[in-house]
């Protein structure tokens, strides 16, 4: 029993960090702020490095690793603020041809109850998977063009006949199928569109609960990486910036903010790593709650430590905060997650 990464896992994480430092350093990050179109060459390079195929069996051209390894790599992506539909690319690598190698960019959008209904990088995706809840509440699409269009997979129309029964469902969409409402994304690195309606023309047999669970966990890992990075940024600044003749990190008002940031990272990391080992729903939800808290509050404290500089467009702090806010809304946001964790208490007999 040892929750810490093994030597192999640390090496994997280091190589991910090195790749991102080399290919997505600060210059590239700031360039992406001005032009958030996805860097397809970088996407293919991520594919070649096994970022998307990490958990596919080696026989299928994958790396054959597990969820804990994926979490470590995603932590690095979060730390580097790497943009793009990373979670979708990873989770759909074995489903959508070309996704594993990064040749094709695939989006994943949760339109179920409480889902964000937001589509990341709509201009960049070659295809899109919608996941929703089946059952009586799942109306037939929910927009006027639910049965229009004529793309591939053409069982036109929708409804229970295409559904797998009582579980949630997934649908493949060509990028021009959904009806979108424009949205100027708060995160300059992540263009967004709100999905108004879409055709249920091409159902896909996917394990949606598992997809959601793993998307939640990987999103938590991204949050964790961001939270860890903003502690470093705050500590670097507090150790350099001088006021009243001393480095501001010597003031308890500042150093205690930094200490609290580290505590949030440590608690979130324990939760995220442990959840990656059990893969169970509740620990994953709990990990997301704590990683969200760590990412959002750390970014805010980091901003505070940076003072006026932190409020500028030029500093990177706001990019972490905005991405953290975005991820907070994705895959198990606050209220729904906390309700699920509360409900579990009634059944749980304090099993450890």
């Amino acid at each position: 029993m040892d929750l810490r990464p093994t030597a192999d896992q640390r090496a994997l994480q280091t190589s991910a960090r090195d790749l991102l430092a080399r290919r997505f350093g600060r210059d590239r990050l700031r360039a992406a702020v001005d032009d958030p179109a996805l860097d397809r060459a970088l996407w293919r390079e991520l594919g070649a490095a096994g970022f998307f195929a990490l958990r596919l069996p080696e026989a299928d051209g994958g790396v054959g690793l597990g969820l804990p390894d994926a979490v470590l790599v995603f932590e690095e992506a979060g730390r580097a603020l790497l943009p793009g539909p990373l979670v979708a690319g990873h989770l759909l690598a074995g489903v959508v041809p070309g996704a594993a190698t990064g040749e094709r960019v695939v989006g994943l959008c949760d339109v179920g109850t409480g889902g964000a209904r937001l589509w990341e990088h709509p201009e960049d995706c070659d295809e899109l998977i919608m996941v929703e809840d089946a059952g009586p509440d799942a109306s037939c699409g929910d927009g006027p063009d639910a049965s229009s269009g004529d793309g591939p997979g053409a069982s036109s129309g929708c409804g229970p006949d295409t559904s797998s029964g009582d579980g949630p469902d997934a649908y493949w969409n060509a990028p021009d199928w959904p009806t979108l409402a424009p949205l100027r994304s708060i995160d300059p690195l992540t263009p967004l569109a709100r999905v108004v309606s879409y055709p249920r023309r091409a159902p896909r047999a996917l394990d949606v609960p598992r997809l959601r669970r793993e998307a939640t966990l990987l999103t938590a890992a991204l949050q964790l990486g961001s939270a860890a990075r903003t502690v470093e940024m705050a500590v670097e600044h507090a150790g350099r910036r001088e006021q009243f003749g001393v480095r501001i990190g010597a003031f308890q008002a500042v150093k205690h903010l930094c200490a609290e940031m580290l505590i949030r990272v440590d608690i979130a990391r324990s939760a995220v790593y442990a959840a990656s080992l059990t893969g169970q729903s509740l620990p994953v939800i709990g990990a997301k709650v704590l990683a969200d808290e760590a990412a959002v509050r750390n970014a805010r404290d980091c901003l505070q430590v940076h003072g006026g500089m932190g409020f500028t467009w030029e500093a990177d702090v706001h990019l972490h905060l905005k991405r953290a806010w975005l991820r907070l809304e994705q895959w198990q946001s606050g209220a729904k997650a906390e309700e699920a964790l509360a409900e579990a208490l009634l059944a749980d007999a304090a099993a450890v």
Binding site: M1, G249, A250, H256, Y273, L277, E338, L346
Partner: protein
């Protein structure tokens, strides 16, 4: 990353469970909290049973994973807490084991392990709390003795202790960290006056100890003269590491109890309260994982958790207070204002957690300076 236990560890757990199932029903009735001699006998009796069953020295010599299993299983089974054995098992004992001579180890350790001696801690003073190195209790050499005069405070179990691990100033001229020595003081020595202090929770849980020319043999000093600060640091990290493991298990059980009570009395209909309990569920689950993380890290470093213990202690002490604040809301006025209500009493006690064993503010300094490397300052 691995959450599984080895077959040997699972075997240890199974045997421990079996033993607890047999041993716990044989325990005498729990003493009244105000009955100090009764508490002493009960706590020492429990340690004796642990010793006879081979678990007596587990805190000192078992691998961290076994200690974790022990603390988890004893809590789940409802076994007695370490109680009056706390300082002996978790402060003074480990210090003597690490820093004492063979003779000192042979003299003091077996009685601790056999449940025959209670130790208390004479560290804090009225003017030396968070700033422990400001301690002023003086020890002056007189032949083979130190003659000690001063005052200690927050001394738990002083009324029933046989020994006190005492920090004294042996060199008032030296820089303050370098003039301190660590002594084992017999509590029946002439010149010692113990005055119980009532806590805000009601009962007297600790005491002031007044020392008026108390003679302690020089042979009772552990470590070199004036080297007591370094000797002491060994024990403090023990305190922040494993002391709260069982409590986290207990808090998780309490949280389940809060949810069921809220469901029964209708307060479950309040989504704000439900969400609060849900968040605490995530919190205590993660605290348990953080313990497991620290145990893994401690196994590498040789047993005593380092600054990582401060991270845990800080977050746990806050979470515990939030838990019992939520309990007050679940209970409503008639329960939250009833000092005899179990959770309400625990709410009062929880107020000490962000102060004892290093205040939250001191812990934040430790984390910021020792882990994050921020400059020292005010």
């Amino acid at each position: 990353m691995d959450l599984t236990y080895t077959p040997e560890e699972e075997d240890f757990r199974a045997r421990l469970r079996e033993w607890l199932a047999k041993a716990l029903p044989e325990l005498p009735a729990r003493p009244d909290p105000l009955d100090w001699p009764g508490r002493r006998a009960y706590d020492l009796g429990w340690q004796r049973r642990l010793y006879d069953a081979g678990y007596g020295s587990l805190h000192w010599d078992a691998p961290p994973a076994l200690r974790l299993i022990f603390l988890e299983e004893t809590e789940l089974a409802g076994a007695p807490y370490v109680g009056a054995n706390f300082v002996g098992l978790l402060h003074a004992g480990p210090t003597i084991a690490a820093e004492g001579t063979d003779e000192q180890r042979a003299r003091w350790l077996p009685p601790i392990l056999r449940g025959e001696a209670v130790w208390c801690q004479g560290f804090s003073e009225p003017d030396a709390g968070s700033d422990l190195a400001a301690l002023r209790t003086r020890a002056v050499r007189d032949g083979d003795d130190y003659v000690i005069t001063g005052q200690k405070t927050w001394t738990s179990h002083a009324e029933i202790a046989d020994w006190c691990e005492l920090l004294v100033r042996t060199d008032p001229e030296a820089p303050r960290h370098r003039g301190i020595s660590w002594l084992a003081m017999p509590m029946d020595a002439p010149g010692i006056t113990v005055r119980p202090l009532r806590t805000l929770a009601g009962p007297a849980e600790f005491a002031e100890v007044f020392l008026d020319e108390v003679r302690v043999p020089v042979a009772n000093r552990v470590g070199a003269e004036h080297d007591g600060w370094r000797v002491t640091m060994v024990t403090l990290s023990f305190e922040r590491g494993t002391a709260f493991v069982g409590e986290v298990v207990a808090c998780r059980r309490t949280l389940g109890g809060l949810a069921r009570t809220a469901r029964a009395n209708g307060r479950w209909d309040d989504p704000v309260l439900r969400r609060r309990l849900g968040r605490l569920n995530a919190e205590f689950t993660a605290l348990w994982r953080l313990i497991q993380w620290n145990v893994g890290a401690g196994g590498e470093a040789g047993g005593a958790p380092g600054a990582g213990g401060s991270v845990f202690k800080l977050r746990y002490s806050q979470a515990r207070q939030e838990l019992y604040d939520a309990a007050a809301e679940v209970l409503g006025a008639s329960g939250a204002l009833d000092a005899d209500q179990e959770w309400t009493a625990a709410r009062l006690s929880s107020l000490s957690y962000t102060i004892a064993a290093g205040t939250s503010q001191i812990q934040r300094n430790i984390i910021a300076e020792r882990i994050l490397g921020l400059p020292k300052g005010r």
